[in-house]
């Protein structure tokens, strides 16, 4: 099969810090989230992607294990996690690492325990961080992480959704344990970075499935308009102090916070804005020195991490919840209650286009650090 990957060639191409013994230790632990970098390190200007680092390769076709689907990949999206893993994880000498955790494709074969699917089904999924990603013609994925793709979207449009929808859904309904339904009238959910990838699905899901008042933050007019389109009732600018902007909306406290970016920069003001007994969920890698944990005590606040890869990484008993979430999201898409956040289709899946996508994403991330909003997802579709 064709694939796009990178290999162990640290002396030549790999970012310098991979040679640092401290970082090498991290890298030996397969997964990025265990020792998250802070965004400044993540965006080290020295750490440029060598245009020849991602390579078009030919690998043997994989065979499904008992719980696997073998999927012929049709479209993939690129996420910040791709950049993180590329920068932090060195494959063993001689081996290749395949990135990509957002895929749409057709089932080509099934393992003996892989229930509920047939050959030819079009499916979508994010997959598992500790397995080969979807930047390949053929990919193995545990059937419990998979659902049938929505029928009303073309593969590229659909490929933008799995990872962010799963993250947003788990954050809202599994971590914060918000109820779906109409019992949250008068409660406010503040979504920091509401125009970003996760933010734009989180706003859509919360708007469709709860009656929370949704206040998003976004800094640029374009991001603010996008957040409104995704479902925010109100949008404020996270580059300005939050409290006065909320006060102008008649809001003096929020019951829920989804802090999707820059948690360390906003933490003190989020704690200040949270109502007693409120909850803050986060997905990023804040600088611990900026988080005053004890400040949560006075109001009996709680802090909830969401990592979309937890279920697959630990093979939790409830990992089929991810398949169920994706099925529900597909239904909501086909009911025209959710729309795709696909922003740009860069072309077919190959090393040149993936390199361009990584560079564009890195630029977006750097822009976010400078307070800009990034909008929508970058997708690649088909093979040359």
């Amino acid at each position: 099969m064709r694939a796009v990957g990178y290999r162990h060639q640290a002396s030549l191409d790999h970012p310098q810090y991979l040679l640092d013994p401290q970082r090498s230790r991290d890298i030996q632990q397969l997964t990025a989230p265990q020792n998250p970098l802070n965004p400044q390190q993540f965006l080290d200007p020295q750490d440029q992607l060598n245009p020849e680092y991602l390579v078009d390769i030919e690998l043997p076709d994989p065979s499904p294990g008992a719980d696997d689907l073998l999927v012929r990949v049709e479209a993939v999206a690129v996420n910040p996690v791709d950049v993180k893993v590329r920068r932090r994880e060195l494959p063993p000498p001689g081996g290749w690492r395949l990135l990509g955790w957002d895929a749409v494709g057709r089932v080509e074969a099934l393992g003996q325990r892989a229930g509920g699917f047939s050959v030819g089904d079009r499916v979508w999924y994010a997959g598992a961080l500790n397995r080969a990603g979807c930047n390949a013609e053929l990919q193995l994925v545990d059937w419990r992480l998979v659902a049938r793709a929505p029928q009303s979207l073309r593969p590229a449009e659909a490929a933008a959704l799995p990872l962010t929808s799963l993250t947003a859904w788990e954050l809202l309904f599994d971590r914060l344990r918000l109820s779906q339904g109409a019992d949250a009238a008068g409660q406010v959910l503040l979504v920091v970075a509401g125009a970003g990838g996760v933010g734009s699905m989180l706003l859509q899901l919360a708007r469709q499935l709860t009656n929370l008042t949704l206040v998003a933050t976004a800094s640029q007019p374009e991001g603010q308009a996008w957040a409104r389109r995704c479902g925010a009732h109100q949008v404020i600018d996270h580059q300005l102090p939050l409290r006065p902007q909320l006060a102008a909306l008649g809001i003096d406290a929020v019951q829920w916070v989804a802090s999707l970016s820059h948690t360390d920069q906003h933490f003190d003001s989020l704690v200040d804005l949270l109502a007693p007994q409120g909850a803050l969920a986060l997905i990023d890698d804040p600088n611990p020195a900026a988080i005053d944990l004890l400040s949560l005590k006075r109001k009996s606040l709680s802090l909830h991490w969401e990592l979309m890869f937890t279920r697959s990484l630990f093979q939790t008993a409830d990992m089929a919840a991810q398949g169920a979430i994706l099925q529900r999201v597909a239904e909501l898409v086909d009911d025209n209650r959710l729309f795709s956040t696909c922003r740009q289709i860069l072309g077919p899946i190959n090393a040149a286009n993936l390199t361009a996508a990584h560079l564009q994403l890195t630029g977006q991330l750097a822009g976010q650090l400078a307070g800009q909003s990034s909008i929508g997802k970058i997708v690649l579709e088909g093979w040359d």
Copy 2:
């Protein structure tokens, strides 16, 4: 009315550190929890209680506000929070600070909005940190924080329960949002410091109202026996590594942790033991440097603070939940499903006995730091 209090006399009697500008700033903020001390500071050996610091005084009788009950206090318990406030909060010059946040007494008068009670009712409550405590013959307390005391206990036995029962209940059912009922079969709640004040009510409540498997930690044989009596299915020693002891019980992960003491010492091993998507609740004041917040991300864990004074401090819309909890606890006591954790009745309520109680509590806290278990509550009953 008679009362026991302390006044602003820092030059003579107050702990030296209250004169430190850094700490003075803290003290101006009425309440202890906002800037918690770490236990080492809290137990500064220089910080001895001057035996003349708590004083028998005569104060004007208070009059109830619209939401107040005026209560004639019959019995009080002494809690770590009394010691903390005494050490951290300096009343304004000329004023007295009354401690005490565990009381049983009879309603003497009612404010116009104070519903559901009659003069003569025997009530129990913890009260509010930012008002005068119960170390007084007469005390004002917001009716929403109060319930009728259990009929099957004498006042001293009952006075041991409100603060710890409220803390334990809120931690289990409002913070961790455990369900009451039988849907937690196979799930494990690890209670660190299960023999302490909060621990012994938390074990009782969890044993009575859930079907969680309860594993408590306690270090001394006496504390271990006490934790079992309170409802622990299993008891392990928190002075030894936790994982091998749990493994010996056939437990390789716990879904829930109530970390009631020494959270900073145990944090890394608790995170290690927590199952993916698990939750840790805490009530103490850990040293932030010992808490690796990012270590929670990989498993999508959550961290929940419980402070029993949050509802009253912020006058939350649901503050009547505390009255409702105490009513339910009283019913469970009268049904013989909970027993009093009163361990020692030191005598009538006066400065000498309260001083003795504070010293004994300080000794217990120091013992806890050295790994000993403290068992049961110290109570004072009646007036000379």
